[in-house]
C-alpha cells in the first residue's frame, strides 16, 4: 500500500488516484467539474519552466493548476 500524499508531491509521469479535495480549496467545485473527484485517476504530465503551475492529465484532458491549489488535493500513488 502506498502512502497518501498531496498532489503537488506527485512527480512527473507518476499516476495516482484522487482521495479527496480539502474544502478550504476555493477551486474545489471547479476541480470537481473538471473530473478531479474521489476515485478518479490523475497523472502528472509536466511543469512550467518555473516549476509552477503543473499540468495534469485528467479524464483525457490536460489541466494546469498551481501548486498551492494541488496541495489541497490528497491522492494515492498507483
Amino acid at each position: 500500500m502506498s502512502k497518501i500524499i498531496t498532489l503537488d508531491k506527485l512527480k512527473i509521469n507518476e499516476i495516482a488516484k484522487v482521495i479527496s479535495i480539502d474544502s478550504k480549496c476555493e477551486l474545489k467545485r471547479r476541480l470537481e467539474d473538471l473530473g478531479i473527484i474521489k476515485g478518479s485517476t490523475i497523472k502528472c504530465e509536466f511543469t512550467s519552466p518555473f516549476k509552477d503551475p503543473t499540468a495534469y492529465l485528467i479524464k483525457g484532458c490536460t489541466i494546469a493548476i498551481r501548486n498551492d491549489t494541488s496541495k489541497y488535493i490528497k491522492v494515492k500513488k498507483i
Partner: protein
C-alpha cells in the same frame, strides 16, 4: 415556425466552428478555452424553416464560477430557446458528459453533437454514438465541424426534432454526475491506444521545458517580427509609389476639370494622402503578422504561453490567463479587454484590463514598425533582422511594464493575493491554413481599410483646415503645435508629434500620417518618391535617434484609443477604472521619455 437553438458545451470543443458553419459566418475560431466571450446570435434557414442560434460561452458546468459561465447558465435555465444543442469533444467525452447530464436536468429538449470525431479517429478512440443516444434518450450526431462532416445530418436532426414538454429533474450532486458520466463513457468509448496524445506531449516537453520554454517564446516572437518586417517592406514601398503616381495623375485630372484649388487640395492633400499612407504603411505588416499569429493560435500555442508565464504573473499577484488577454491585445486592445472575462477573480480581471494597453494593438504595432523601418533601419536596406530585434525589445519592454504595473496595482489600489486558477491545455491541432489565412486577411485587411477611411479622412480634413486657417499670419496648426512644443521637447518629442497622438485618439493608425502631414504642410508630398525618403522629412524637422526612440516608447505607452476607453467603461462599469487605464500608461510613457531625453542631453 422559428426554432431557437442554444449552443452549449465545454470550452474549446468547437461550438464556434459549428456556429460559423450553420450561420455561414467567418468569425475566427481559436484553439484555446475562452475564445468566445459574450453571446453571439446568428440566423440560418434550412428547408424553408428559420432558425435562431445562440453561441454561448464555453462552460464546464452549470454552476457558475465566472462572469462568462454565468451567462451560459442563466441562458440554459431560461425559456429563451427551444433546443439545447450540446457540443461535446469526442476525445474526452467523459468530462463533457458532466455538462450534458446537467443540461438534461434542466431541459430534456437536447441534441448532442459529438464534435472532433476526426481527432478521435486519429487517436484510435471509438465512440458508439447509437449507444450514447439510447442511453440518454436524445439524438446524438457525430460531427467534424472543421471539415464540414456531419453537418447535414445535424441540420436534418434539428429540423425534424419535435419539442417535448419540459420536464425538470431533481439535481444530482456533482459526485453522482461524475460517476454517472464515468459509467456512460466506459460503456460507449473504447480506447485502442493509450498513447493517443504522444505527439502533443512531445511538443509540450519542448515548449514548456525549464531550459527551452522561455527562450523559444522569445525567439519565436523575434522570427515572426523578422518575417513581418522583411516581407512587408517591399510591398509597402511599392504601394506607396503606386499611390503616389496615381495621386499625381489625380491632381492633374482635377486641374484639367478646373475644380476649385481649395477642393482639390482638400481631396488630394487631405483625404487621399492620409488614407493612402495608412494603407501603404500599415496594411502590409498587418497582413503578414496576423495570419501567422492566427495560425499559432489555431495550433494551440496561446495557452502554453499563459502556462509558461503564470509563475511570473503569480509573483505579481495576478493570473496567468492575463497572458491570453495580452495576446488578444495584439490584435486590438478592446478585444483584449473583453477577453479578460475569462479571468475569474474581479481584482485580477481589473489588473488585466488596466495593463492591456502595454501591448501594442494593430494600430500602434505597425506605427512602431513604420518608425523602425523608416528611421532606424530604412525601407530599402536589408537590415530587417535588426528591425526585428528592436521590435522584440520594444514588445518585451511592454510586457515587463505589464508585470511591474500589475505588481504595483496589487500592492496599492487593487490589493489582494493571487487567486487559484485552472487552465486547460488543449491538444495541438493542425489549422486549416488556407481558411485561416483568408479569414484573417479578410477580417483584418477590411477592418483596417474601413477604419482608415472612417478616421484618416476626417483627420486629413481637420489637418488641412488647421493648416489653412491663418491667424495673424500664422496657421492654426502652427499655433497649436508651437503651444505643445515645449511640453513635447521635454519628453524628447515635439509639438507636431504630441498633436498627432492627440488627434490619433480615435485610431492610432493615423498618428504617423498626421505627423507627416504636419511636417509637410508647406511642402508637397510629390517630392518624395519612396518611403525611405520619408526619413528626410523627419530629419529636416529635427528628428534624431532620440526622437525616434521616444516616439516608439510613447506609442507603446500612452492613453488607449477611444474604442478601447469605451470598452473599459463597459467592462468595468466605472469611469474611475477607465481614467486609471488612461492615466497610468500615459504617465509612465511620459516619465520614460523624459528620462531618455535627459540621458541624451547628459551624454
Amino acid at each position: 415556425m422559428i426554432k431557437r437553438i442554444a449552443l452549449i458545451g465545454n470550452p474549446n470543443v468547437g461550438k464556434s466552428s459549428i456556429f460559423n458553419i450553420l450561420t455561414k459566418n467567418n468569425v475566427h475560431t481559436g484553439n484555446w478555452p475562452g475564445k468566445t466571450v459574450g453571446n453571439k446570435i446568428g440566423k440560418y434557414n434550412y428547408k424553408s424553416n428559420e432558425y435562431i442560434i445562440y453561441d454561448l460561452p464555453g462552460t464546464y458546468s452549470l454552476v457558475s464560477h465566472s462572469k462568462e459561465e454565468d451567462i451560459a447558465k442563466s441562458f440554459i435555465e431560461s425559456d429563451d430557446y427551444d433546443i439545447a444543442l450540446v457540443v461535446c469533444d469526442a476525445t474526452c467525452l467523459e468530462r463533457n458528459l458532466n455538462l450534458v447530464l446537467q443540461t438534461l436536468e434542466i431541459n430534456n429538449n437536447v441534441i448532442i453533437a459529438v464534435n472532433l470525431m476526426d481527432e478521435a479517429k486519429k487517436k484510435n478512440i471509438d465512440v458508439d454514438l447509437n449507444k450514447l443516444s439510447k442511453t440518454l434518450n436524445v439524438p446524438v450526431i457525430g460531427t467534424c465541424a472543421k471539415n464540414n462532416v456531419g453537418i447535414k445530418n445535424l441540420l436534418d436532426t434539428i429540423e425534424s426534432y419535435e419539442k417535448k414538454d419540459k420536464i425538470k429533474k431533481n439535481k444530482m450532486t456533482i459526485e453522482k454526475i461524475n460517476n454517472e458520466s464515468s459509467k456512460i463513457a466506459s460503456d460507449v468509448v473504447t480506447y485502442h491506444d493509450n498513447n493517443y496524445n504522444k505527439k502533443t506531449r512531445k511538443i509540450d516537453k519542448i515548449l514548456t521545458s525549464r531550459i527551452t520554454g522561455i527562450p523559444i517564446m522569445i525567439i519565436g516572437l523575434l522570427i515572426i517580427f523578422w518575417i513581418t518586417i522583411s516581407l512587408s517592406n517591399y510591398p509597402s514601398d511599392l504601394l506607396y509609389k503606386l499611390f503616389n503616381t496615381f495621386g499625381n495623375y489625380l491632381f492633374k485630372f482635377f486641374n484639367k476639370l478646373n475644380i476649385n484649388p481649395i477642393i482639390t487640395s482638400i481631396i488630394i492633400n487631405g483625404l487621399y494622402k492620409t488614407t493612402t499612407w495608412v494603407v501603404s504603411v500599415m496594411l502590409p505588416p498587418m497582413c503578414i503578422f496576423f495570419p501567422i499569429f492566427a495560425i499559432l493560435e489555431d495550433y494551440g500555442v496561446l495557452p502554453r504561453i499563459a502556462f509558461n508565464l503564470d509563475k511570473i504573473f503569480k509573483k505579481c499577484n495576478s493570473c496567468g490567463k492575463q497572458a491570453l488577454t495580452m495576446c488578444m491585445g495584439f490584435g486590438c486592445n478592446a478585444v483584449g479587454i473583453t477577453s479578460a472575462r475569462i479571468i475569474d477573480s474581479k481584482r485580477e480581471r481589473l489588473i488585466a484590463i488596466i495593463t492591456n494597453n502595454f501591448v501594442p494593438c494593430n494600430g500602434r504595432f505597425p506605427t512602431i514598425i513604420a518608425i523602425i523601418s523608416m528611421f532606424l533601419i530604412g525601407y530599402s536596406s536589408n537590415n530587417s533582422f535588426l528591425g526585428a530585434v528592436i521590435l522584440t525589445i520594444v514588445i518585451m519592454l511592454g510586457i515587463t511594464m505589464t508585470f511591474i504595473v500589475s505588481k504595483i496595482l496589487s500592492i496599492t489600489i487593487l490589493k489582494g493575493i493571487p487567486s487559484s486558477f485552472s487552465l486547460e491545455l488543449p491538444p495541438y491541432r493542425r489549422p486549416n491554413f488556407i481558411k485561416t489565412i483568408i479569414n484573417t486577411l479578410y477580417e483584418k485587411a477590411l477592418k483596417i481599410l474601413i477604419r482608415a477611411i472612417c478616421v484618416a479622412l476626417p483627420a486629413g480634413i481637420i489637418i488641412w483646415i488647421f493648416s489653412n486657417i491663418n491667424i495673424n499670419g500664422m496657421s492654426l496648426f502652427e499655433i497649436i503645435t508651437q503651444f505643445l512644443d515645449p511640453f513635447g521637447r521635454a519628453i524628447g518629442l515635439d509639438g507636431v508629434i504630441i498633436l498627432a497622438f492627440i488627434l490619433g485618439f480615435p485610431a492610432n493608425e493615423i498618428v504617423i500620417p498626421i505627423m507627416l502631414m504636419g511636417y509637410l504642410q508647406n511642402n508637397t508630398i510629390s517630392d518624395y518618391n519612396n518611403l525611405s525618403e520619408l526619413k528626410n522629412i523627419l530629419v529636416t524637422n529635427g528628428w534624431t535617434i532620440k526622437t525616434a526612440l521616444c516616439t516608439i516608447i510613447f506609442s507603446l505607452m500612452h492613453f488607449p484609443c477611444s474604442t478601447t476607453c469605451i470598452t473599459i467603461k463597459k467592462e468595468t462599469n466605472s469611469f474611475k477604472w477607465m481614467f486609471v487605464s488612461i492615466i497610468i500608461p500615459t504617465l509612465i510613457g511620459m516619465i520614460i521619455c523624459f528620462i531618455i531625453n535627459l540621458l541624451f542631453i547628459i551624454i
